[in-house]
Amino acid sequence: MKYEIPIGPLHPALKEPIMIKCTIEGERIVDVDVIASQNHRGVEWIGMNRNNPVQSIYLAERICGICNFCHPSCLVIAVEEITGIEVPERAQYIRVIQGELERIHSHLLWAGVAAHELGFDSLLHYVWMVREKVMDILELVNGNRVTKSIIMYGGVRRDIKDEHIPKLRKMVEYYREGFNKIAKLFLEDKTIKMRTRNIGILTKEDAMKLATAGPTTRASGVKKDVRQDMPYYAYPDFEVRAVTPDILTGETVGDTYDRIVVRLLEVKQSLEIIEKALDEMPSGDILSEPKIIKIINQVKKSEGEAIGRHEAPRGEDIHYVKLKEGFEYLYAWKVRAPTYINILSWRPMLLDMQIADIPIVAASIDPCLSCTNRVTIVKNGKEKIITGDELHKLSIQKTRRLLR
C-alpha cells in the first residue's frame, strides 16, 4: 500500500518553508518530490529599488542569519570588481578570519542540529555549549553575537585589536583541544554510526550532475572549493585544499556519515587558517576610503557587471551585480544561495531509504531556506493556495473586524 507523507513546511524535523512529499511503501521511500515555494521576500527588489549600495550590505546580511558574512561578502566582492575600489591587505586578512569564524560557528550549529535530528539531544547540548566560545569571540571582535556588520566596500569597518589577538589564539587552542572530543563523540558512537553509515548516499556522479556545492559535494569526493579554485581575499596565501572524508576515514562513501566527517574536518581547517592569518597579518589601514558618502558616489558613477563568489559554510554562494552610471541603486542584483542547488540532491539521497532517515538526510545538506511560503488550506480533500495578495486582503478584513 502506497501513501504519501508530507515533511514540512510545518514539521519538527525541518523548520523551513519547503515541503518534501514522500511516497511511502511500508517504511521504504519509493518517490520523493521537493516542493519549493515561489514566493519572494523581495530582498533583491529592495536592493534594486529602494536602498543605496551601502544600505544593501546590511540587507544582504539579513538574507540569512547564520551566514551573515558570506552574503554581504559576495555583494562587496562584485561591487569592488566593478568599481575598482582597492582593499588594503590587512582588511583582506580580517575578512578571511571573519569568514572562518563564521564557518566554525555554522558547522558546530549544524552538528548540534544533526544530533537533534537523530534524537541525540545530549550531543546537541554539548556541541552548542562548545559553540558558545566562538560566539563570545564574535561578540568581542564585532560587537554583536550574531550579526557581524563588519564588511564595507574597500575594507572592513572594525579592526582586530592587539588585545583581541591573545583571546582569538586561546579560542583556537580551546577548539583544537575540544576537536578530538567532539570527533570521538560523533564518529565513534555506535548509535550514530548505525544511523548515518550508508544512509543517504550521493554518488560522485550525481554530485557532479546536480552541481551540488560545499560540504555536500566534497563528502561525495568532488574536490570543489572556491577558496581552492578561485582564491579571493587573502586566501591565495593559505593554499586551502578541498577537504574530502578520505583524509580521516580512508574512503569516500558519500553518505551522511561522510558529511559529518567533512564538516568536522573543515572546523579543524578553519582553525589552522585563523592561526596562520593571525601570525601573518600585516599592519596598515583597514579601509581604503573611510568617507562613505564618497563610496556611494563612486558606485553611482560606475558601470559594469560582476559576479561575487564566496565559499559559505554551506557551499558556494553567488551574487550577480550590475551597476549603471547615474543609477543610485544596484541596477541588477541576483542572489543564489548554496542551499538552492543542494536541495535537488535530496531525491537521489532519499530514494530507497526509510522514513526514519528523512530528517537526518534532509539536515545533512544543512538546508537554510531564507524565503516565505504561501499558505495552503486543505479542507475536505481540496487544496486551495492563498497568495500573498489574498493574505493581505484577509488581514485587512481582520483588522477592520477588530477595530469595529
Partner: protein
C-alpha cells in the same frame, strides 16, 4: 464477608491508582531534572509534570475531522486505566499485593500490552498519516521486545521451580524467594545477564530513546500522539509516568525484592517504622533502576531505525537472554559454589 472484600478491593484499588499516578509523575520529574543536569542545563523543577498535567487538563480537546471519535477518546482512558492496574499485582516494599494469584506475571505482561495496544488503536483512529506510521511502528516494536522479555521471565520461573517450587508464575512468590540466594556461580552470572536483558527491554517497553521509534519527534512528529491534545494527551502523559514506575517496580520485584529493615534491625530498633524504611528503600531501588535503564540510556544514545530495533531485540538481546537461561540450566548440573560464600 463479600462486602468487606469488595470494599477492600475498591478502596485499595483507588488508593494504589492515586499512589501510582503521584509517584509516576514524581519520577518523571526527577528523570527530566537528571537528564537536564547531565546535559548541563538547569532543567524544570521536579513538580513540572504536575504543572504539565494541570495545564493539559485546562486545554481544549481537539478531535480530528476524520477520526473515529469514540475509539479516539476511549483509547486514552483504556491506556491510563490499564497502566494503573498493573501496580495492583506488583508487591511494593515486600507487602502482599492487593490482587495476586496463580500466573499473574503473565497477566502483568498482557496488561502492559493492553496499554500499548490502546495507544496503537488511538493512533490508527486519529486518521493522520504520521499517527498511522507511528502505530505500525509501535506494533512492530511490541512484537520484538516481548520475546526477550518472555525469555527472561520463563528463565526465572523455571529456575524457581527447580530450586524452591511452589507457585512459580506468581510475582509475589518470586519476590519472596529471591533467586540470588539459591544459585551457584554460573547461575549468578546467568541472573546478571537476564537483568541486563530486562534493563534493555525497559526503554522499548516504555517507548524511550533509543527505542522510541513510535513517537520519534523529529521523524513523525510524536507519531501516535500527534493528533491528541488536552485531556486525552494528559491521560497518555500520566500513563507514561505510571508505566515507567510499574516497569521499574516489576524489575525490583523480580530481581531486587530485598528489604532493608531486617538488616537495620541488628543495629537499631525500628518498631513500627520498619514499614516506612522499607518503603523508602523501595523508592530508592525504583529510582536507581529508572536512572540506569531509562534516564542514562535516553540521554546517551541516538534513536534507532525500526529495522535496527527489531534486529536488536530479536537477535542480540534474545540471544543474550537465552545465554542467561542456558547458564541457569548449567548451574543445576555443574553446581559451582559462589566464591565469596565460603
Amino acid at each position: 464477608m463479600t462486602g468487606e472484600i469488595l470494599l477492600k478491593t475498591v478502596l485499595g484499588g483507588a488508593l494504589i491508582t492515586l499512589f501510582a499516578i503521584f509517584f509516576g509523575l514524581i519520577f518523571k520529574g526527577i528523570d527530566r531534572k537528571i537528564v537536564a543536569r547531565m546535559q548541563m542545563r538547569v532543567g524544570p523543577p521536579i513538580r513540572q509534570p504536575f504543572l504539565d498535567v494541570i495545564k493539559l487538563m485546562n486545554k481544549e480537546t481537539v478531535v480530528p475531522e476524520n477520526a473515529i471519535k469514540w475509539i479516539y477518546h476511549a483509547s486514552a482512558i483504556v491506556c491510563l486505566a490499564s497502566s494503573a492496574i498493573i501496580l495492583l499485582y506488583i508487591p511494593i516494599a515486600g507487602i502482599e499485593p492487593l490482587l495476586h494469584g496463580h500466573g499473574d506475571i503473565i497477566l502483568i505482561i498482557y496488561i502492559f500490552i493492553i496499554s500499548a495496544l490502546a495507544m496503537v488503536v488511538g493512533g490508527f483512529s486519529s486518521s493522520s498519516p504520521f499517527a498511522t506510521v507511528g502505530a505500525q511502528r509501535e506494533m512492530i516494536t511490541m512484537a520484538s521486545y516481548e520475546f526477550p522479555l518472555a525469555v527472561v521471565i520463563i528463565a526465572i520461573a523455571w529456575k524457581l521451580s527447580e530450586e524452591i517450587g511452589g507457585d512459580v508464575f506468581s510475582v509475589y512468590h518470586i519476590a519472596q524467594n529471591p533467586l540470588w540466594n539459591s544459585v551457584g556461580l554460573l547461575g549468578f552470572i546467568g541472573l546478571l545477564i537476564l537483568l541486563f536483558a530486562i534493563v534493555v527491554v525497559t526503554p522499548g517497553e516504555l517507548a524511550k530513546i533509543p527505542f522510541d521509534v513510535a513517537e520519534a519527534e523529529t521523524e513523525i512528529a510524536q507519531g501516535l500522539l500527534v493528533e491528541y491534545s488536552g485531556r486525552n494527551l494528559a491521560m497518555f502523559y500520566i500513563a507514561d509516568g505510571v508505566r515507567t514506575f510499574a516497569m521499574a517496580s516489576l524489575i525490583t520485584a523480580l530481581f531486587f525484592p530485598y528489604n532493608i529493615s531486617p538488616l537495620l534491625k541488628n543495629y537499631i530498633s525500628l518498631g513500627d517504622f520498619a514499614i516506612v524504611t522499607d518503603f523508602l528503600f523501595f523508592l530508592l531501588k525504583v529510582f536507581l533502576i529508572i536512572l540506569f535503564s531509562v534516564t542514562l540510556v535516553r540521554a546517551g544514545m541516538a534513536r534507532l531505525r525500526i529495522t535496527q530495533v527489531v534486529t536488536t531485540y530479536w537477535i542480540t538481546i534474545t540471544l543474550i537472554a537465552l545465554f542467561g537461561l542456558v547458564l541457569l540450566m548449567w548451574d543445576n548440573q555443574l553446581d559451582i559454589p559462589l566464591p565469596w560464600v565460603g
